[in-house]
């Protein structure tokens, strides 16, 4: 497959690994903040190929995992209403909220549907005019512009039974929050490649300016990840941290101006609660006032109990990179993909699921 296979070349991978070994002299912790990176690193067995001093950490890059229980509980409460069709992306389906999950509500008769694209949700709204269709909008900057497009289309076509429950988040703010907390040693970031096709590379400047950490915008094929790791080590070696774009075939410094403009037209920033990280200022998105009629949170206020987390679940610490799944008492013994306690064990991008499935 063009533009994928070439970046999985074994010989080039071996070569890059040799170069990485050549400059791996000190303990270095590199964090990725994109669930798709978490998956790729596990899928290709990249950890098994890293020399001893190099540690790859997973951060809060899984949008499903960082969705706060309160948001999930709200969506579940809406899903339980008879006149609602609640629509999510596949991953969110089995994530447990405080008391239930979408899978369970479906088993009890709720109309819950999984889609591949937000445009499918809009189509469901067109085809079911007597129902209220709520799309649980989860995702980072790669996905939120697509949802913005759907809102504009809904307005244009006068679709009045389509709503979104926005749990969209912005990743650069979370990266700074992690560095601020100082909880875990991060020596460099693999920056999310597809988020960056939208936002460009400028948002990572403050990480270099304020914290002097290398920030490399990374693709998702094995050669991309290996090259980016090498670039970070090289920067550290020369003590020249900067923002660099490894994924230059699709990432431009300025990102995608059309997408950014549409995003800005429809959404504005707000403070958001991230699972395990508390409230991060200006890290979430909500619909602007002029699009309020599409905001499920305003149109369908729900009363929910105070959200709860299992006190023994370490999802929060895992998302911050402070703990790894095997540190959690529940991991494997109680919490596993078929009986997940926390979101990190459900989402295909979840750190705990990836550890469970791919590590011995």
């Amino acid at each position: 497959m063009k533009y994928m296979d070439e970046f999985r070349n074994r010989k080039l991978a071996d070569g890059l690994l040799a170069k990485i070994r050549d400059i791996s002299h000190q303990e270095t912790q590199i964090m990725e903040v994109c669930g798709t990176h978490t998956m790729a690193i596990f899928k290709y067995g990249i950890r098994s190929l890293m020399p001893e001093p190099i540690k790859l950490l997973s951060g809060p890059g899984c949008p499903v995992c960082v969705t706060h229980n309160r948001d999930i509980d709200t969506a579940i409460a809406l899903a339980q209403r008879k006149e609602m069709i609640l629509i999510t992306f596949g991953d969110m389906f089995r994530v447990p909220g405080s008391n239930s999950s979408f899978a369970k509500v479906k088993a009890e008769g709720g109309d819950i549907r999984v889609v591949y694209s937000v445009l499918d949700a809009l189509q469901i709204a067109r085809e079911n005019p007597t129902k209220q269709v709520v799309f649980f909008a989860v995702g980072f900057e790669t996905t939120s512009p697509t949802v913005a497009v759907s809102i504009l289309k809904a307005r244009e076509e006068g679709i009045n039974n389509f709503f979104i429950l926005s749990s969209h988040k912005l990743i650069p703010q979370a990266m700074e929050s992690l560095l601020d907390s100082g909880e875990v040693q991060i020596d460099g970031f693999l920056c999310p490649g597809h988020v960056s096709t939208i936002i460009g590379s400028h948002p990572y400047q403050s990480i270099v300016q304020n914290y002097r950490k290398p920030a490399v915008v990374t693709g998702f094929e094995p050669l991309d990840i290996l090259q980016a790791i090498w670039m970070i080590l090289h920067q550290i070696h020369r003590d020249e941290p900067r923002v660099a774009i490894q994924y230059s075939r699709v990432v431009d410094e300025r990102g995608n101006p059309v997408a950014l403009s549409i995003l800005d037209q429809v959404f504005e920033k707000k403070d958001a609660s991230w699972r395990g990280m508390g409230i991060i200022p200006q890290s979430g998105l909500k619909l602007r006032k002029e699009f309020e009629e599409f905001d499920a949170e305003i149109v369908f206020p729900v009363e929910i109990e105070e959200s709860r987390e299992n006190p023994e679940c370490l999802c929060g610490e895992v998302l911050r990179g402070v703990k790894i799944p095997t540190d959690c008492k529940l991991f494997r013994k109680v919490c596993n993909p078929d009986h997940p306690v926390g979101a990190c064990m459900v989402s295909v991008e979840g750190t705990c699921l990836n550890h469970f499935q791919y590590q011995q």
Binding site: T143, P145, T146, V149, V250, I262
Partner: protein, 77 residues
């Protein structure tokens, strides 16, 4: 979820839509976020939308750079 795949635009259609081909299969996607994409161009597709163009020359350059890096390695042992 930042899953995105490269695909080639085989046909542009009305209303910011296009047919895109991935591994021999075609499907319709939205060009709402990339309205000036052209037929024959490679784009990155995420949840039914083209989100960015793939710079083919850059891709070649990256691969070429990697090949050079690896060769240099082999030369120096």
């Amino acid at each position: 979820m930042c899953l995105a795949v490269p695909g080639k635009i085989t046909k542009k259609k009305q209303g910011h839509k296009a047919l895109v081909e991935v591994a021999g299969l075609e499907r319709e996607i939205s060009l709402d976020l990339l309205p000036d994409a052209l037929e024959g161009e490679y784009v990155l597709i995420h949840t039914g939308f083209a989100i960015q163009k793939i710079d083919e020359a850059d891709a070649e350059e990256t691969l070429s750079l990697l090949r050079d890096l690896v060769q240099a390695n082999e030369v120096h042992g």
